[in-house]
């Protein structure tokens, strides 16, 4: 068992699944010789050859549209979109086509495809390199949306995605691409999509989070004297509402934390569902610690924008004090 970064865990998952399943092809901008700008696909082209791992023209709609066709034709493409900010040009192919193909053809055509996308802020990147659009895709029926928060999870979730018969957007939080190392088994394991992870148990309050924010939440929890339960959603759609509801019924209080802007962020869905499922158990309104409803600022201000341990801690204390 190796001590891997998230980048390495994903690379390992790709290699292992590609060895098992020759339907998997990897494509995108700079993912071949260069191994991707984050080196996630490093070595794949050498190992699997240029017809399985290939650079494309610089056009995101093209990358996804081509992948849809390949998936309809029986492959499992794994397109990389270089940064989440460049999902924009591919939005139509993802939401109007990939997401609808099975349903509009009543299953005659399907789109097994795993779209890998580095996501989120915190790495001092240029504009449009730091956003968190997960709720946009969670609002689009037909997609599954995943965001791991650790190397171990990344491998297990990616393997699951690569075995999915439907399109998955696999968001990889760049902020923790290399920030954490963890034991990641070489063995074949999957983490089923739609199952959350209880990062730590507690009785006073539940935090629900996903992606890189899980790290900020842990920092806040470590400083806190209360008994806090932290649930890492891992999959944004389908989401593990049972895990969340069970926890909140126990604690009676909840803080949701995410990087995306507050309004219509996925936190709103979690909050609404908690109210629906745990109404009589709630001792305080669910609190959302999220990005502000502004454009993600350029990097001088990005740490000011992103929810940090201070803001989480404050929400914890307020929610508990209510």
């Amino acid at each position: 068992m190796a001590h891997l970064t998230l980048v390495q865990a994903i690379n390992l998952a790709l290699i292992q699944e590609m060895e098992k399943n020759d339907a998997i092809v990897v494509l995108g901008e700079d993912i071949g010789v260069n191994g991707g700008v984050f080196r996630v696909t490093e070595g794949l082209q050498k190992r699997f050859g240029g017809s399985r791992v290939f650079d494309t023209p610089l056009a995101e709609s093209g990358i996804i549209g081509l992948s849809i066709g390949m998936a309809m034709g029986g492959l499992h493409p794994v397109p990389e979109i270089q940064f989440e900010g460049f999902l924009g040009p591919a939005y139509d192919q993802i939401c109007s086509h990939a997401a609808r193909m099975r349903s509009r053809t009543r299953g005659a055509f399907t789109v097994p495809m795993t779209i890998r996308v580095p996501v989120g802020g915190g790495i001092h990147a240029p504009e449009l390199h730091s956003d968190s659009p997960e709720s946009i895709y969670a609002h689009t029926p037909g997609l599954k949306v995943v965001m791991p928060s650790s190397p171990y999870d990344a491998k297990g979730l990616l393997v699951a995605a690569l075995r999915e018969p439907d399109p998955v957007i696999f968001f990889e939080p760049k902020r923790i691409y290399r920030a954490i190392r963890e034991e990641v088994p070489e063995d074949d394991y999957t983490l089923p999509l739609g199952v959350a992870r209880t990062v730590c148990e507690g009785t006073d309050l539940t935090i629900v989070s996903w992606g890189a924010s899980v790290v900020q939440c842990m920092q806040a929890i470590e400083k806190s004297e209360q008994s806090i339960e932290l649930i890492d959603l891992r999959t944004i759609y389908p989401f593990d509402m049972d895990a969340v509801a069970t926890s909140v019924k126990k604690t009676g209080r909840c803080v949701v934390v995410h990087e995306a802007p507050l309004t219509c962020g996925f936190g709103s869905e979690i909050a609404a569902r908690i109210m629906e499922r745990c109404f009589l158990h709630l001792e305080a309104p669910v609190q959302r610690v999220a990005g502000f409803d502004t454009t993600m600022p350029y990097y001088k201000m990005e740490l000011d924008y992103l929810p940090d341990a201070n803001r989480v801690a404050r929400a914890i204390q307020d929610c508990l004090a209510y």
């Binding site: 066709g69 390949m70 389908p238």
Partner: protein, 386 residues
Amino acid sequence: MPITTVYTAEIKKISILDEHANFDEKLGDGLISNDDLVRLYGAMVACRHLDEVAFRLQRSGRMGTYPQNMGQEATSLGAAFVLRPDDWMVTCYRENCGLFWRGVPMEGILLHWMGDERGNAMPKPHWVTPIYVPLGTQMLHAAGLTLAAKYRGVDRIACTFFGDGAASEGDFHEACNFASNLEIPVVFVCQNNFWAISTPSKINSAAPTFAQRGLSYGMPCVQVDGNDIFATVYAMKQATEYTRKHGKPYFVEMVTYRLGDHTTADDAKRYRDADEVESWRRKDPIIRLNAHLKNLRIWDDEKEAALRSKVEQDIADAVARAENISPPERTDPFDSMYADVPADLILQRDTRHTHSLGQDPSQLPPEAQERAAAMDAAAHAQHSAH
């Protein structure tokens, strides 16, 4: 040499059977057998008749918006005739004639426009994709489908159709560029019918031809008279041979005209001259092929009558099949979303509610639960009565 020439190009136009039924023997002889010509003629007549029937269905409220193909039959038909049965044909929504040639059942197309997804899931494999309403997007899928075949070592090309309007979408460019640079054998067919709804093709291209759009990508390009089945077949033969041999794309512009309204929701009189339409009526691909068949002495009024009555019967049957299909299951939209339908969606499906107390009425007091059940039953009855 301070000024040098780095690129030259030339685009040809092909026409074989012109609007006066003049036939160019040099190009045309032996291109299509007489038997096939008769079959192609029959296919065009059938497609045209379906258009008329569909129009009436729409007007009498038995079908939603429908786009007639009238006048354009020879374009997709020429392609379908030349393609191998297991080449992909990836079309838009005005290529019925080619689709029927490939064996797509008419009721599939009818059902689509009757607002029923099952129309898109007709018996496979015809190596066709369903109708695409969003424009310009399917050409990339054609490239991907073909790349998948290439990856598997299968000898299969694709032919994809799109209009003069759709060729303005960014995805058009990306598809051509991907196919060219990644060496994917796709024949791109721009069906230039001079109009995109009310927008004349000059607003979608200021260039003298659409064919030259292929030059960007270094593709061979050709323009053909799209109302001339010989010309479309001729060009498709050249295109498919090249594509198959070199594993690279080819660009064909088929010049044609939409004789009808854009769809049944449109009124083309608002924006185009009767004269223009009239002049194109005379260029109708069916009229000229009919004349040619008669010139060849392989067609007469009797055969025409027999064809028409067969076509009428076939189409009446197809309409009946489309109309007599069972209503869709209310569960279909849910069950068709994912291979593995999430529990949350199953709950929506089974309760037909999104509000949490509707999904879980056990939280309500007993009388309210009863009222809820009664309301559901009433709603269900109301639905079934539709």
